[in-house]
Amino acid sequence: MKPNYLYILGTALAIAFTMVIAEVYYVQVADVAPEVNRSTTLYCDAIWRMPIENERDGVVQERTTIPVFYCDITDIFSQLKSPECITAYMNISFCQMNIRMADGVHDYSAQYLCTDPDYFKLYRFRFLEGRPFNKTEMDGHERVAVITRDLADRIIGKDQPAAGHIVSINNYDWRVVGVVETPPIIATHCSRELFVPYMAEGLLTATHMEVTDAAFMVCLSVPHDRRDDFWREVAEIEARYNMSLSSHDFPVYGLKPTPIDLRPSFVSHYGRTWNDVGNMFDEIIIDEGDAAGSILYYAIPAILLLMLVPALNLSGMVASRMQRRLAELAVRRAFGARKVRLLWEVLSENMMQTLIGGAIGLVVAWIALYMCRAWIFTLFIGDLASVANMRGSYAVTSEMFFAPSIFIITFITCFILNVLATTLPAVMALRRPIVESLNQKQ
């Protein structure tokens, strides 16, 4: 049988479309370096706090969220024992520090992130030189920094050793202790150029705030087998905290502390990603980071729904092709072909073409993703100003594109596509009387 190039092309485009959608979703949620713990990570950048009174002056008082402050890290999060790793970074959107460039004259404004040493345990940067800063340096308020290779190229010189160098940041001398590979732009918790301890002396001039005033993003890695223990711990801490409020009435950021509702304050990476898609799926923000649930119940149906349009198009193409092949099928039946055999022939022939189309689609999708990666990788980041300020790498790694789950989803999609697009028109064609089908051509 001669291949139907239009069908193959249609399939290729449909698969490419699916792959792009799947990849866009995948790179946002998969464990991609340096965010290799996305599947187990929970985030908390604000704590739900209850009103002191449920009702005041006839008005129902609603609970509200208050950012996480340094005191919350020490009072609440430091008590958690079940997480594999707890880290926090100052939640300041894309502030910049001025770094003197290699020419000794000009400054470069670098995106920075103020964090703690455990940050480098949760986020696995590839260290090209040196090491992360450590607890001693943090507690000693030392001015130490980890910088990306791209930044090192700018301020020290291309491919020059940078670890151990003293660089001038905001007119203070800082010691570079490590150089990391520039993180990809899709790693939103990592795509910065400069990483410094938030307790470092002199940070105030850059952040314009004391560490006690800054809002934090707390990131915890809690493996799924420890979740029950974790939530138990959270409930205990919450109860203890709320009990202690009577003796803890000094204001925090000008506000009097109120009872906390801790559990809903945690959001999984999946929850954050879906939230970024435009709050379309508010109800599925899963505070337990239930990856399987997220993908099974929402991502796959969403992709299949998207696939329905190309599937219907292909079904139409197959139906029209079947119409043209009615006489051929009738001739084959006239010479002794059984319906089941013909149905199998048509299905397998279409399956082969679907697979060829799928393979082409896969390649087209990869090319499209590679060519449009700058746009695609920032597609779901709602804040365009943030996108403009992001300083990450647009490099595409094999772990992003050669994901088994994406292959499986694509293969299943191919299969469903083929069955949807072929079976119905084929069965209808074969149910027609042979004579009627033969006369169709005449």
């Binding site: 001739v331 084959r332 002794g336 009387p433 004579v435």
Partner: protein, 225 residues
Amino acid sequence: MEVSIKLTGVNKIYRTESVETQALENVNLEVGRGEFLSVMGPSGCGKSTLLNIMGLLDVPTSGTIELCGERIDSHLSDNRLATLRNRSLGFVFQSFHLIGGLSVLDNVQIPLIYRGVGRSERIRRAKEVIERVGLSHRMKHMPSQLSGGQCQRVAIARAVIGNPEIILADEPTGNLDSHMGADIMDLLHRLNEEDRRTIVMVTHNEQQARETDRIVKFLDGRQIS
């Protein structure tokens, strides 16, 4: 006389919502084994319908059919009908009905594919019959590269490759010029005489019909002679 095809009281009525058309009316016909029978009549008299019913491509509204000694019941399964068509019948259509995407060699093999014959055996037999119809130099050609007469030869080769007892030819020379038509008729006569195949041929051509063993004539669905 051994009977290849026996029709008894066959009626065929086509019904639409508003119209009922009697295509065949009480047809009783026997075709002997090895007989070359012509079916004649004006357009719309039911000749092709008769051929389709004989070839198990269509079902009669009432009446019985016997094919090579087997009674064809209405409850005969699709698979059994397919087997009968494959083993006992060969079709030659006026418009050839060759499959455009297949070469001559592949077109001719079709009945053997559905009989489960192995590829090498299929090719051997296909080459044999193609040679017999005089087209061995066109085996790799596609139907679109052949003349009408050559296409009909391919169709005949396809009809006989499975060695069926009966060949049903629906106006096999209808789309051919007289010269090519004569060639095709020669071929059919050879198959009838040399292989003792039963041939039922629908034709409008008096001359060709006279060259066959017997002529039956139809008018308005009834057999008139």
